[in-house]
């Protein structure tokens, strides 16, 4: 039976050193416990580095898990930083060094998009110590100056998701003129028609003194009726009768009109 000695360790002497504008600033955090309020560092550029160090006192062996997770914990997007360890007597000095240019583009991209700080979470655990002594806490948060970082080449990974709705935009139908204006011009044209009749009357060319007599009158009437008939057939075609119906009646009317017409025109000879 193995006797387990319950050993506790204490993480002490936390120091956070960061460079900003080529100046080195140090924050002493001291002892650490869980639920520590993270220190916020602002305006870091791509050339800066962060050094995070602490001491584990009263403890001999190296804990199995010492890691600093840097990234966005809500998104589960973090990279681990390995520490360099120095063992001295009973204490261990752990040092993490992070150059900001090593932060992967995905973390920069999402931190910039969601406007969230990049946090550093410290985990220290060992299988020979009780769970209450484990350390798992956010130690610092960084707000970067994203203009100095280059992450334009990062593209978000494609995932299955619904795409935006598209509704086809129809071209607007052609604009037609207002009926009022159209009616005015219709009136003008009809007026011109009546004007023609009026001028004909005023020039004295309406006399009706050459109406044919007897058989020729019938021929004349037939001729005029066939012409009017043709125009009516054409009007019926415009209003929707099929072309075949139109051709049928036109051919019948045509035969009739041609016969009557030639008879009439022959009768008047060159006196037209």
């Amino acid at each position: 039976m193995l006797l387990c000695k319950i050993i506790a360790f204490q993480v002490d002497n936390l120091k956070l050193t960061y460079t900003s504008n080529k100046q080195s600033n140090t924050i002493k955090i001291g002892t650490i416990e869980n639920n520590l309020v993270p220190n916020i560092i602002n305006n870091l550029t791509i050339d800066d580095t962060i050094k995070f160090s602490f001491q584990i006192v009263d403890y001999g062996a190296v804990p199995e898990q010492i890691a600093l997770l840097v990234g966005l914990p809500d998104r589960d997007l973090e990279i681990p930083i390995k520490p360099t360890l120095k063992v001295k007597d009973n204490s261990i000095l752990a040092l993490f060094k992070l150059s900001l240019k090593d932060i992967p583009k995905s973390i920069l991209y999402f931190a910039h998009n969601e406007e969230k700080p990049i946090s550093g979470t410290l985990i220290v655990a060992s299988s020979e110590v009780g769970k209450n002594d484990y350390i798992f806490t956010k130690t610092f948060e960084m707000n970067l100056d994203y203009d100095t970082f280059a992450f334009d080449s990062f593209k978000e990974p494609i995932r299955y998701e619904p795409l935006p709705e598209i509704r086809h935009i129809f071209p607007s139908p052609p604009k037609t003129v207002s009926p009022f204006l159209a009616k005015i011009f219709v009136g003008i044209i009809i007026l011109a028609g009546f004007g023609l009749l009026f001028i004909w009357v005023s020039f004295g060319v309406i006399k009706f003194d050459n109406i044919a007599t007897g058989l020729n009158l019938i021929y004349l009437l037939g001729f005029i009726i066939s012409i009017i008939g043709f125009e009516l057939v054409f009007l019926r075609y415009y209003l929707g009768t099929s072309i075949f119906e139109t051709i049928n009646t036109s051919s019948l009317l045509g035969i009739f009109g041609l016969v009557i017409g030639t008879k009439y025109l022959r009768s008047i000879g060159n006196n037209i």
């Binding site: 037609t176 003008i188 020039f203 054409f234 025109l265």
Partner: protein, 136 residues
């Protein structure tokens, strides 16, 4: 009688014109215009039926111009087929009338006047059908 006096006047004015050699082109043009107008009115007097034809032609031009003015007013030839149909019926009817008038005054060899009239009517009917079809 009246014709003799008018021709005498004509000879008088022409001799006057030839005397002035340094006359400008404008005067020549005025003379030509006067001569052609005179022959026109004389023809009209001889064949009054030409009045029917000429006034009809004039009003066809007027109706064509009205349609074109409508087009220019609204700056849109939207049913272009309709505009063409209305315009072509005026222009076509005008052309057919003029060709009949030509044959009326000086008949073509081998085509008597009444046959010209018959052809004019047939051609006009075809034109009307086409224009009604084209305006849809």
């Amino acid at each position: 009688m009246a014709a003799n006096t008018s021709s005498a006047n004509f000879i008088k004015t022409s001799t006057n014109a030839t005397n002035k050699k340094s006359n400008s082109i404008w005067n020549d043009f005025q003379d030509v215009y006067r001569v052609s107008m005179k022959s026109y009115w004389d023809a009209l007097d001889k064949y009054p039926k030409l009045k029917l034809i000429d006034i009809f032609c004039l009003f066809l031009v007027i109706i064509g111009v009205i349609q074109f003015a409508f087009l220019c007013l609204i700056r849109d030839n939207f049913p272009f087929n309709a505009f063409l149909s209305g315009f072509i019926i005026c222009v076509g009817q005008f052309a057919l009338l003029i060709s009949f008038r030509m044959q009326y005054l000086n008949p073509f060899p081998g085509i008597p006047k009444n046959r010209a009239f018959g052809e004019f009517i047939v051609a006009s009917l075809i034109l009307h059908f086409i224009c009604l079809h084209f305006i849809n």
